[in-house]
């Protein structure tokens, strides 16, 4: 469970941990209730000639997958489900109708939720209720994903049972912000789902509306040698610290945190978060000269083996030295040297020779503000604002900075104005003054 003292609830390495069998809804027989033959011959309730075309081709077909769930639900029967067994049939039907009409068939908006919270559920109703009654409601539940989207199958199977019993059985793994998305349920199931999630799965819901949205992170130190701070731990700590801001909208508009371990930005923080935390270092790149020679000698494949095209032998001058954006590198035929004070830590040489070069050892993060999509004042990439901060648990200095930002923006931001637009309107200089930046 996320809650204190429950950090090991699902840990299979810890005695007495919770398992799928402790919370399951469906029996093994119910889960394996159809054959491949039945699936092959399955005809949905509605004819879907256009969607059927999307079952062809090699890429995993979402149509084939929805059909599988439709069959499974039909065979489970209405007695074993809390919302219509035929919801997936009607989902296929309404999407087929959209394909025919070239327009969406979801009504505008929808305000639903759970008591105590102001966000987390996106309401949705279709505009052809008579024709598709089983999908009259089709609300989305956002569930806060664990760090870097790691799961045990015990937990995931429990999640699946809730989705199927109280929802459509369809999901998104994952929403772009990071949440696990339960796609499609009825209003009367929102509270029961919330109780199941918090009591049995030990997980909370994510954010929506004018609030802190669900933070997300790259895989960081769990499986990456480039990570300059503990993205997963910090993402978790910041999510827990700002639970109130996440669940109860109090902001002018949405606000997102994203945590990238290095400037490669695998979670896209620089483009997709209002406050981007990007790992960096302030000492020297660590060089293993023997490994450099092994790259030059062709013993180690370039860029971790990412290149299958025929590029010829590795040419360190052409591929590394000449590509360096600050021209701060030199190769004299025997030794690689880097003029580190001139390096801007773009990651190219490290990405290209990961077995020879390592990020520095004196690590922290940069903070950039204000990335957003185009509406209203144009798209923005995040602005480098704080060059370096140490990111050591419990991250007090960073949390204090965040509180300063929230306090100011809640006061200063206009209705539906992203912080990037507020900064643009009041000037970056003013924002720097607010943060106490000289």
């Amino acid at each position: 469970m996320g809650a204190e003292g429950q950090e090991h609830l699902w840990d299979k390495e810890v005695k007495g941990h919770r398992t799928y069998n402790d919370i399951r809804i469906f029996t093994d027989e119910q889960l394996k209730n159809y054959t491949e033959e039945e699936l092959k011959n399955f005809k949905g309730k509605h004819a879907t000639p256009m969607l059927d075309e999307l079952e062809k081709g090699p890429w995993p077909s979402f149509v084939s997958d929805i059909k599988r769930e439709a069959l499974h639900r039909n065979k489970l029967g209405q007695d074993n489900l809390q919302i219509p067994a035929e919801i997936c049939d009607d989902l296929l039907g309404i999407v087929e109708l959209s394909y025919r009409d070239g327009e969406t068939h979801w009504k505008h908006g929808g305000i639903v939720g759970v008591l105590g919270y102001g966000g987390g559920v996106v309401g949705r109703y279709n505009d052809q209720q008579a024709q598709f009654p089983n999908i009259a409601h089709f609300h989305t539940y956002r569930v806060n994903q664990p760090g870097a989207k790691f799961y045990t199958t015990d937990w995931l199977r429990g999640f699946c049972d809730i989705c199927e019993y109280r929802g459509s059985g369809m999901t998104n793994l994952h929403g772009s912000t990071g949440d696990l998305v339960m796609l499609g349920t009825f209003t009367d199931q929102l509270e029961p789902i919330f109780f199941d999630l918090t009591h049995d799965l030990g997980v909370d819901i994510g954010g929506s509306g004018g609030n802190l949205r669900t933070p997300s992170d790259c895989i960081g130190k769990a499986r990456c040698e480039f990570a300059c701070y503990d993205t997963m731990d910090m993402c978790y700590e910041m999510t827990m610290t700002f639970q109130d801001e996440l669940h109860r909208p109090a902001f002018p508009y949405k606000f997102k945190f994203k945590f990238d371990g290095c400037p490669n930005c695998c979670v896209g923080s620089i483009a997709r978060s209002d406050m981007a935390y990007i790992g960096t270092w302030k000492d020297d790149i660590r060089i293993n000269q023997d490994a450099v020679k092994a790259y030059v000698g062709g013993e180690i494949p370039r860029n971790g083996g990412a290149v299958q095209a025929n590029w010829g032998p590795f040419n360190i001058q052409e591929e590394i030295i000449d590509k360096c954006p600050t021209e701060c590198m030199n190769w004299d035929g025997k030794k690689l040297s880097i003029n580190n004070p001139e390096c801007n830590r773009c990651m190219h040489c490290i990405d290209a020779m990961p077995e020879a070069l390592r990020v520095g050892a004196d690590q922290g993060l940069s903070i950039l503000f204000g990335a957003k999509a185009p509406i209203l004042e144009g798209a923005q990439l995040a602005v480098m604002t704080i060059p370096f901060m140490y990111a050591k648990k419990p991250y007090d200095s960073i949390k204090n900075l965040v509180r300063k930002v929230f306090d100011w923006w809640i006061e200063e931001g206009k209705n539906r104005e992203r912080i990037g637009e507020t900064i643009q309107r009041v000037t970056l200089k003013t924002f720097c003054e607010v943060l106490g930046i000289p």
Binding site: G2, Q6, E7, H8, W10, H17, I23, E36, M50, L51, D52, E53, L54, G57, P58, W59, F62, S64, H72, C88, G102, N144, G147, F150, Y151, T153, L156, G158, C160, D161, Y165, N172, L173, S176, G184, D188, P192, F195, D196, T198, H199, I219, K221, A222, R223, E225, A227, Y236, T239, Q243, N264, C265, A271, R272, N303, G305, D351, A373, A379, N415
Partner: protein, 392 residues
């Protein structure tokens, strides 16, 4: 888990037994033990073949990751099948990536290769692969995308359908690593751009071409008019009172560029239209700071039709762009860096995409995007301009 209509929830005592603010599950408990043991101790990695990664720790441990595509919109039956595979090969652990691929992580190379074979042989009865492996290195990985007609009320196109059609056409690039650099494709079904469209190598964007229709009778009742007016980036919306005295708004059709933001704020201003709606193509964005700084994608094709169910006009042009880029770009060069180096006039010429005035920025800071230098390359388009004004 609870059963019955209300489960654990008692509507007569709604606050009783309610647990709140517990956040996500703590991540360590979900991580394979080999990752917990080597947390923060990684030294380097290699891609052994498309879809198979190896990470090496300072403890000497190695972990193998098999990456497989998933369609993002998943049934629980799909997830359960993933769980069965993870139980069989990975002791019950699995993860998803930031681009919605699935990763199976284990400490045994042979098991990883066996798993890869199994994943690559699993198909739906209709023929598509369930978990094709790939998506690593300098190729094309999964397409980040949105809700489309499956769940959203403001889209100008579908998401899952065009993504499936495009990924089918580019399947070989998912299974291989033969491009000059990685190439990221994203789709958003309207210009709210949920996701990564504004910063992707190739972006598909749902786009309207007609102004909203106005339901004067209900607008004042269901919409907060000042919010509607403030929602317009071009100040095309004004308050209006009908002859019958009903409060509403007008939309100046000459000023409207069909962004749809007023509809987001007000249900009485729908603008979806089967003939008008379609997909714009943008290229050249990136997020990483590698060599060059992050970049926005630029509009190169203003509109292609929503030709259901397979969007052939869209998939053809995406394939063409990828092929020309693959042939022409330098080592490590992302698509936007390549287009910038050869010059955008050459990008249009080499890809055979006609340049139209729709690619010329006309929004506020547009002047920064104009060419204020004599540096250009002669293209057919340049000659056409010179001819048109009687220069040649």
């Amino acid at each position: 888990m609870s059963k019955g209509k209300l489960g654990y929830f008692d509507p007569k005592k709604p606050q009783e037994n309610r647990i709140t603010d517990i956040g996500p599950n703590r991540f360590e408990q979900m991580m394979p033990p080999v990752l917990r043991k080597n947390y923060g101790k990684w030294l380097s990695h290699r891609i052994l073949e498309p879809g198979l990664l190896m990470h090496v720790s300072e403890t000497g441990d190695k972990v193998y990751t098999v990456r497989a595509a998933a369609p993002r919109t998943l049934s629980v039956e799909y997830i359960r099948e993933v769980c069965s595979i993870a139980d069989k090969f990975c002791n019950g652990y699995v993860r998803w990536t930031t681009r919605n691929n699935i990763e199976f992580i284990m400490d045994n190379e042979k098991a990883a290769r066996d798993l890869k074979k199994e994943l690559d042989s699993t198909k739906y009865p209709a023929g598509s692969y369930k978990f094709p492996t790939g998506g690593t290195g300098f190729g094309i990985t999964s397409i980040v995308h949105t809700q489309g007609w499956i769940h959203c009320h403001t889209p100008a196109t579908d998401a899952s359908g065009p993504v499936k059609a495009t990924a089918d056409v580019l399947f070989d690039y998912f299974k291989s690593m033969k491009l000059p650099a990685k190439l990221r494709i994203a789709l958003a079904c309207c210009l709210n751009m949920c996701g990564a469209v504004h910063c992707s190598d190739i972006a598909l964007l749902g786009y309207h071409r007609k102004p909203p229709t106005i339901d004067h009778e209900v607008l004042g009742k269901v919409c907060e008019i000042p919010l509607v007016i403030a929602a317009c980036p071009l100040y095309a919306i004004k308050p209006y009172t009908t002859p019958e005295g009903t409060k509403s708004v007008t939309v100046n059709q000459e000023k409207c560029m069909y962004c749809g933001n007023c509809y987001t704020m007000c249900m009485a201003l729908p603008l979806a239209d089967a003939e008008g709606d379609g997909i714009a193509i943008l290229v050249g964005g990136k997020i990483s700071n590698r060599i060059t700084t992050p970049k926005f994608s630029k509009v190169i094709i203003p509109w292609l039709p929503n030709n259901r169910p397979r969007w052939p006009e869209v998939t053809n042009v995406v394939k063409k762009i990828v092929e020309v880029y693959a042939k022409d770009a330098n080592k490590y060069e992302r698509l936007g860096d390549w287009a910038g180096r050869i010059g955008w006039e050459k990008f249009f010429e080499k890809t055979g995409i006609p340049f139209t005035e729709k690619s010329m920025d006309d929004y506020r800071l547009a002047v920064d995007t104009f060419r204020t230098t004599t540096q250009f390359k002669f293209t057919e388009h340049a000659w056409a301009v010179s001819k048109a004004v009687g220069g040649i």
